[in-house]
Assembly symmetry: C2
Homo-oligomer: 237 residues x 2
DNA sequence: CCTTGTAATCTGGTTAACCAATTTATAAGT
DNA sequence: ACTTATAAATTGGTTAACCAGATTACAAGG
């Protein structure tokens, strides 16, 4: 019996191979920025894969900004030049699955920035949303329940208030994996959660006061406690 | 005549509406983490859209880690709980297109970190790759040609050497848009490029010496010149 | 009552034919 | 020769039927 997960790996491999072949094609045909890629039908025939596979590969490259697919017209190569195109495709194919360490590093980097920006740019509406998230979190912790989700929603509310849509987007991308890891390692148990309430409140107050330095410091404190604890339990297990 | 671009907007709107409906469904049916979503056929029938549209929406939610589609088995909701799921779907739908300011902010944040990490973790192979990118850039500038692409590939080589796959991925996502904007605003003209050669060399040397503080400082200097200049030309145009 | 084997059903993935908008080629008019 | 009108070909998007693996239901055997 073939394991379930292998089917996904297979499909990812074919996608990577298609992306690679599209890259070679752009090189070989010397396609300039703005030029049109061969049609999806021709590509699927040339690569001997289904058209939907080609479409998925194109969608992925569209996500990275390398292609632009326009209905009833064609798929066009982005205005970044062949050299950048080659380098980027190579990098995209080489990308490995994220480890927990990368995840934590990136989260801390992003959040120390978003909390600073949020304290500078937050509107009254942003502040209310953050307060709501804070209250939802506190209530659940005080009832003795698990509140990992409310915790992360508080942080996402801050990211939204930062006014930087890219950082907001990046936070959204890494959040689910953070939640899964937290629940796997039981990072947020009740003892830690009670402490975190006051830490969250401090962060909120700093944003309310529009004090960027304080906001960043309070967030830093928050992470120190959180991940020091995480490191300990990981070593003990 | 319908404008070309509108067709893409339409398709994005239907995708958003499908994502929203999937969110409602998870709420209404009280689907717990790990539960199975109705099949793609049922969803397409229920929502009165094509199955491929449903598949695309699912793929997007898979990208954000909210769903997991397993061949011949079904699509499962991620282990993050309904509350987080609702908040995240709301945020994903609300996400606006990135502006240039967000782009620059995020780039600087990421690169000041990746250059530091790269100086600490770079292997000899990483160092060689960075050197290659540096030489390719310098040569092209000295020949008086435009070298925006080689510039960005140098920075991407550093991101790769950082050993943080998520930051590397995020850098790849924002790079094409940076290139496009640079070329649009003619950020890197020859005068600036000649100055940038020595700045790039300084960054490389700091990474080679494995001096994280120096590396970060040199990168900061590099950005100061770059975006101050950018700000000036944007005001003058 | 529980286990086991088998067949029917259900799943995401693939394929091929079809659609409407676009682009290109061709022909008619001036 | 050039412009304009019309038709043929091309495009990404959609649809419906099909595939192989996974799941489920159920009956036979213990």
């Amino acid at each position: 019996m073939k394991l379930k997960i292998l089917a996904k790996v297979d499909s990812l491999d074919t996608q990577k191979s298609i992306i690679s072949k599209i890259g070679e094609l752009i090189n070989f045909k010397n396609l300039e920025p703005g030029d049109k890629l061969p049609s999806e039908r021709m590509l699927s025939e040339k690569f001997e894969v289904s058209r939907s596979s080609v479409r998925e590969a194109i969608q992925k490259l569209e996500l990275y900004g390398l292609l632009d697919s326009i209905p009833q017209s064609g798929t066009f190569v982005a205005n970044i030049g062949v050299i950048a195109m080659n380098g980027m495709i190579e990098d995209i194919l080489r990308l490995e699955d994220p480890d927990f360490k990368s995840l934590v590093e990136t989260r801390i980097l992003l959040e120390l920035k978003t909390v600073r920006l949020a304290s500078l740019r937050r509107t009254e509406e942003d502040l209310e949303k953050i307060k709501e998230a804070l209250d939802a979190y506190s209530e659940k912790v005080l009832r003795g329940e698990d509140a990992v989700q409310e915790d992360l929603l508080f942080h996402l509310a801050i990211a939204r208030a930062s006014g930087n849509s890219i950082m907001n987007n990046f936070m959204l991308i890494i959040t689910p994996e953070i939640i899964t890891n937290f629940e796997k390692y039981h990072v947020c148990d009740k003892k830690l959660a009670n402490l975190s309430i006051s830490e969250h409140q401090d962060i909120f107050e700093a944003i309310k006061k529009q004090d960027p330095m304080l906001a960043k410091q309070k967030m830093k404190d928050h992470f120190t406690v959180l991940y020091q604890y995480c490191y300990n339990i990981k070593k003990s297990t």
